[in-house]
Amino acid sequence: MTLLTLRNVEASYGVSPALFGVDLSLQPGEVMALMGRNGMGKSTTVKAICRMVPTRGTLQFDGHDLSRLPSHRAARLGIGLVPEGRRCFSSLTVSQNLSAAARPGHWTFETVTKLFPRLAERRDQKAATLSGGEQQMVAIARALMTNPRLLILDEATEGLAPLVRQEIWAALTELKRSTGMSIILIDKSLGELSRICERATILERGTTVWSGAMSDVTPEISTRYIGV
């Protein structure tokens, strides 16, 4: 049974359309890369899944019709989001940022700070004064604290030091192995994506133009749709 299905999804910002027909399907426990050039609709697709933009078309998560749900209900079905641009709650402290989102499960303040020791150090600092990378860590930790079944990371390693990035990739791989969590990844590093992801979906101008196994992403395809 598929965990997440998008069929012919359209979305728009006010009057300007951004998605014209996105198809995507994800099995439980799968890690998928969502790829495409800048401005092609990756983040909008993510927002569509998280019910942050109005959509048309079929969106199903675990048998539920997402398109009828408000954002918080979708999240409670088990979708955790690390949004583009971090969006930490700037006037809250690190620990408040995390506790605001917490739902019971494996991930607690203790476990996420094991992944990001820096956050424990800065636990009572307001998010607004954190460094860029620290804010990114808060955003990832916050999404984990909801203990999702599907974790969506929209450029989640942006601004992170290489060492931390490697740790996060390692943690994600471990996560997938141990808990069977599904993951959708948007990231610019094709190399790292191909190491972790099993499947890939490529967007161009708000439309799914390619999907398949990550191993099938040939240099031609990546040159054509991603530019490298």
Partner: protein, 306 residues
């Protein structure tokens, strides 16, 4: 002026401060924590007072009147939030200003329509009326001591709610980024409605409690509105402690200014000029205080520094 009188006036100032805090408490939630500009806060205060007066008139029970005040104001709050405010979270503050200004018109005239143009009667219950003797021989109205107690209790409760509970944290997160907190699975709409209702209920409670020693009439909420904003801003938006300290400062400034400024002026000019110039300055005193505080600390005493 005798020392005992000075002490009594300081006490009056503090008491007025706590009363202001009580009046501002609901707004601290709605404006301070949720970040909504609700000009209709004074209307909620008025609704509370009118509901209390009506119920006290019918049943003779002050306690029932207080419940009625909170219930009526909370209901009005839920109505306001779900019908109007909810649609305005995404837009900027200005639409909230216009919408809640419109609400003032509707509520004020609506109340007049229901209750008529004359002030209503609402009095202190016998059990807590009359003065008591404080140490030092000060005769002090018991009811005002009750107000102080309620004010302190409300303040403490609010501080706990906002700083110690998870819902409090979520509300503040919602103020930062509503869309994001919803995407994390928090039903921020319902939470906001609840908190708004709570803020409204507090306004209603204050209206009933304070209305008992003032006049219950249409338009009674407007001065309260301005004072409540002043108190919160001096303290720093979002800080319950700040609102409390701000309220005490305003209370002291207002009370002592009104009494001592004319006396002070008498040292320089003749009595008549002093009385009128002194009290003119006294009426500006709290605004001068607010201006000075904001110039010195642009985000209030305890507000988040940028």
């Amino acid at each position: 002026m005798s020392t005992i009188l000075i002490i009594e006036q300081v006490l009056n100032g503090l008491q007025f401060g706590v009363m202001l805090f009580l009046m501002a408490a609901g707004l601290t939630l709605i404006f301070g924590v949720m970040g909504l500009i609700n000009l209709a806060h004074g209307s909620l205060y008025m609704i509370g007072a009118f509901a209390a007066a009506a119920v006290a008139g019918l049943t003779g029970s002050f306690l029932l009147a207080l419940f009625a005040a909170m219930a009526a104001a909370a209901m009005a709050g839920v109505l306001i939030e779900t019908v109007v405010i909810r649609r305005l979270y995404a837009t900027d503050h200005l639409d909230q200003v216009l919408a809640t200004f419109a609400l003032i018109l509707i509520f004020s005239e609506g109340t007049r329509w229901v209750f008529g143009s004359f002030p209503l009667f609402l009095d202190i219950p016998d059990a807590v009326s009359g003065p008591v003797s404080l140490p030092g021989g000060i005769q002090y109205p018991l009811y005002r001591l009750v107000l102080i107690a309620v004010g302190l209790a409300v303040g403490l409760g609010l501080a706990l709610l906002i700083n110690r509970t998870r819902n409090g944290v979520q509300i503040r997160a919602g103020e930062n980024d509503r869309e994001m907190i919803a995407a994390l699975g928090v039903d921020i709409s319902r939470l906001y409605t609840l908190v708004f209702a709570l803020g409204a209920a507090l306004a209603g409670l204050a209206g009933a409690l304070v209305g008992a020693i003032q006049s219950v009439q249409v338009g009674m909420g407007e001065p309260v509105l301005i004072l409540a904003f002043v108190v919160i801003v001096i303290g720093g938006i979002g800080s319950i402690k700040g609102a409390f300290v701000g309220a005490l400062l305003v209370g002291l400034t207002d009370t002592l200014g009104g009494i001592f400024l004319p006396e002070l002026f008498k040292l320089f000019t003749d009595a008549a000029t002093a009385t009128s110039a002194g009290s003119a300055l006294a009426s500006m005193a709290i605004y001068i205080l607010m201006g000075a505080v904001l110039i010195w600390r642009p985000t209030g005493l305890y507000g988040a520094r940028a």
